[in-house]
């Protein structure tokens, strides 16, 4: 019996949470929406818990081989849910009491659902739907601020997303035609003898869709705009959660491809281009959100490295998952700091942060140094494992490129750290900093360090088989 609703319990939690939150929100008076918040948080928490318990389940696929229950799925579920929780935590101050508070939570939940399904599905059809499920709430979240900038960002995200969706559908269609199936299990053998050219078109189509979600070249254009113009929680969410699902999805897809075309090489090249573009573009940014947006682009470049050696090195999957977790918490920590001091938008605004609120400055320092990849932070271990996997996978050149990029990236992160630790300028007035966001920031920073130090314990857990 392949239909096991229980195996989907985490996803069901999210969906049900979304519905209930919407209903509750529609009945609650404006100032009592914290109930909706509570419900959403509960749903996320429940989802996380069920996902954690599901980690011990036997590795298998359910629903006719369209949904994999394995380590990757578990990791994706956990990271996505906890990341979303963190987003809510850092967004509370900004969302609380707004017209659209409950809807925001609904959209966050649905986006999380999309990401989690996308990361765990093993069927092209479900992948397409997950793409939609992940993208549509994003448009809503980005545009929610209704400012001109937000509207523009929403427009661009939407139009790029639509194109990517079409390409994804096209690719799916072609792969179906060639492989004679949409479930990876049947697809893999079906594609074995397929003509390479057509296969390439199919692969490119699907990749284009997923790269849009991951915010990598060529689908990266929307990331900085959205990060800059959307509300801080939305920005934090859309630079973190969708990537998780998309990258794991790419990873699963790459393992399906036959050797007749060099998919890994393509991914590697895209990774190199993405990280370089992201870094160089981030160099002269002055708006911290936009800078973070670009930096996430570069991070996706690093995240694509293990995918490039998905079939080449056994260490690839654990590396990817670890980096995903580390990246998520680090990025959210940075955004939490941004959310905590809403008045500081440009790098120069951050002058004197250390003086006015040392804890936030410390969290910022930890987060940014982690993004650079210095011990003992989480991303360092992530990068290390990722580099190792790529090296063992034979992509030495890619490792070199990535190392150079890491060094280069230090420059723009320091451009942010430096003013934060300089003595406050004359106009340095005390921040009306937001409590829960600050808490979230410090908490996330602590997690960054903790994950970095405890990576030894975490890594073995992520070392599981990948099923179809």
């Amino acid at each position: 019996m392949h239909e096991e609703p229980l195996a989907l319990l985490p996803e069901i939690c999210l969906l049900a949470g979304a519905v209930v939150t919407l209903l509750a929100g529609s009945f609650l008076p404006r100032e009592r929406q914290w109930v909706a918040r509570l419900i959403a948080a509960t749903a996320l928490f429940g989802s996380a818990v069920t996902a954690a318990t599901a980690l011990t389940d036997p590795v298998r696929t359910v629903y006719g081989g369209t949904f994999a229950v394995d380590t990757a799925t578990g990791a994706v579920r956990l990271v996505v849910t906890s990341a979303t929780l963190l987003v809510i935590g850092l967004g509370v101050d900004e969302l609380a009491g707004t017209r659209r508070e409950s809807e925001s939570y609904v959209l966050l939940l649905l986006g999380a659902l999309g990401a989690s399904v996308m990361g765990s599905t093993t069927d092209l059809l479900v992948l397409v739907i997950a793409f939609l499920l992940g993208s549509i709430p994003l448009y809503g979240l980005i545009g929610m601020l209704r400012s001109p900038g937000a509207a523009e960002a929403a427009l661009k995200t939407y139009l790029l997303g639509a194109l990517s969706g079409i390409l994804l559908l096209l690719g799916t269609t072609v792969l179906y035609g060639l492989g004679g199936a949409t479930a990876y299990a049947d697809l893999a053998p079906g594609l074995a003898g397929a003509p390479a050219a057509a296969l390439a078109v199919g692969l490119l189509g699907v990749l284009a869709g997923l790269l849009f979600k991951a915010g990598a070249v060529p689908g990266h254009f929307w990331v900085p705009d959205a990060a800059q113009a959307a509300g801080t929680p939305a920005a934090a969410f859309l630079t973190t959660v969708p990537k998780i699902g998309a990258l794991v999805a790419i990873h699963r897809l790459v393992t399906v491809l036959p050797a007749s075309i060099d998919g890994p090489l393509l991914v590697a090249v895209l990774a190199a281009v993405t990280m370089t573009l992201g870094n160089l573009a981030a160099f002269t940014q002055t708006d911290v959100r936009r800078l973070l947006g670009w930096s996430t682009v570069s991070q996706v470049g690093y995240l694509l490295m293990p995918v490039a050696v998905a079939s080449g090195s056994a260490a690839a999957l654990p590396a990817l998952l670890l980096y995903l977790g580390a990246y998520a918490v680090t990025n959210l920590a940075a955004f939490a700091v941004v959310a905590a001091v809403p008045d500081r938008r440009t790098l120069e605004d951050f002058r004197g942060l250390a003086a006015s609120s040392p804890w936030l400055a410390g969290a910022l320092l930890v987060a940014l140094l982690s993004l650079v990849g210095t011990p003992p932070t989480a991303v360092f271990v992530g990068k290390l494992t990722v580099f190792t996997a790529a090296w063992d996978g034979g992509l030495v050149w890619l490792v070199v490129v990535a190392a150079l990029n890491s060094v280069a990236s230090l420059f723009y992160y320091l451009r942010w750290i430096a003013p934060a630790f300089r003595r406050g300028g004359p106009e340095a007035e005390p921040d009306r900093s937001r409590t829960s966001a600050s808490v979230a920031a410090v908490l996330a920073a602590a997690c960054v360090l903790g994950l970095g130090l405890a990576a030894g314990a975490v890594l073995p857990l992520l070392d599981g088989p990948l099923t179809r």
Binding site: I129, Y139, A151, A153, K156, Y158, T173, Y176, T182, Q228
Partner: protein
């Protein structure tokens, strides 16, 4: 009526749509271009189903494509409305504050 011919027609439709999506300024027109591309995908999907793998999955795929088309359309309208309300314009060119 062979696979190739049908696919060629689909490709033609696709590229027309692409042309539109790139060349049009009004959001709605861009969306029409995208619709046209989806249209091509529908055709291609049908062709693949008929000529290569007449499995039920193919039908589901078509169903999915249609759903996607509808959903994207709806979102498109919503976004266009938002743009029109907040920027008072429905041109993509006028929405270029965010760059670099």
């Amino acid at each position: 009526m062979t696979l190739q011919t049908v696919l060629l027609v689909a490709a033609a439709l696709f590229c027309v749509g692409l042309y539109g999506a790139i060349s049009q300024q009004v959001v709605v027109m861009v969306m029409m271009g995208l619709e046209l591309m989806l249209n091509a995908v529908v055709l291609a999907a049908g062709a693949f189903w008929w000529f290569l793998v007449p499995e039920p999955e193919g039908q589901v795929l078509l169903l999915v494509v249609i759903t996607a088309m509808t959903v994207e359309m709806a979102m498109g309208f919503a976004v266009a409305t938002l743009l029109h309300r907040s920027r008072g314009s429905d041109m993509t060119d006028t929405a270029t504050d965010l760059s670099r």
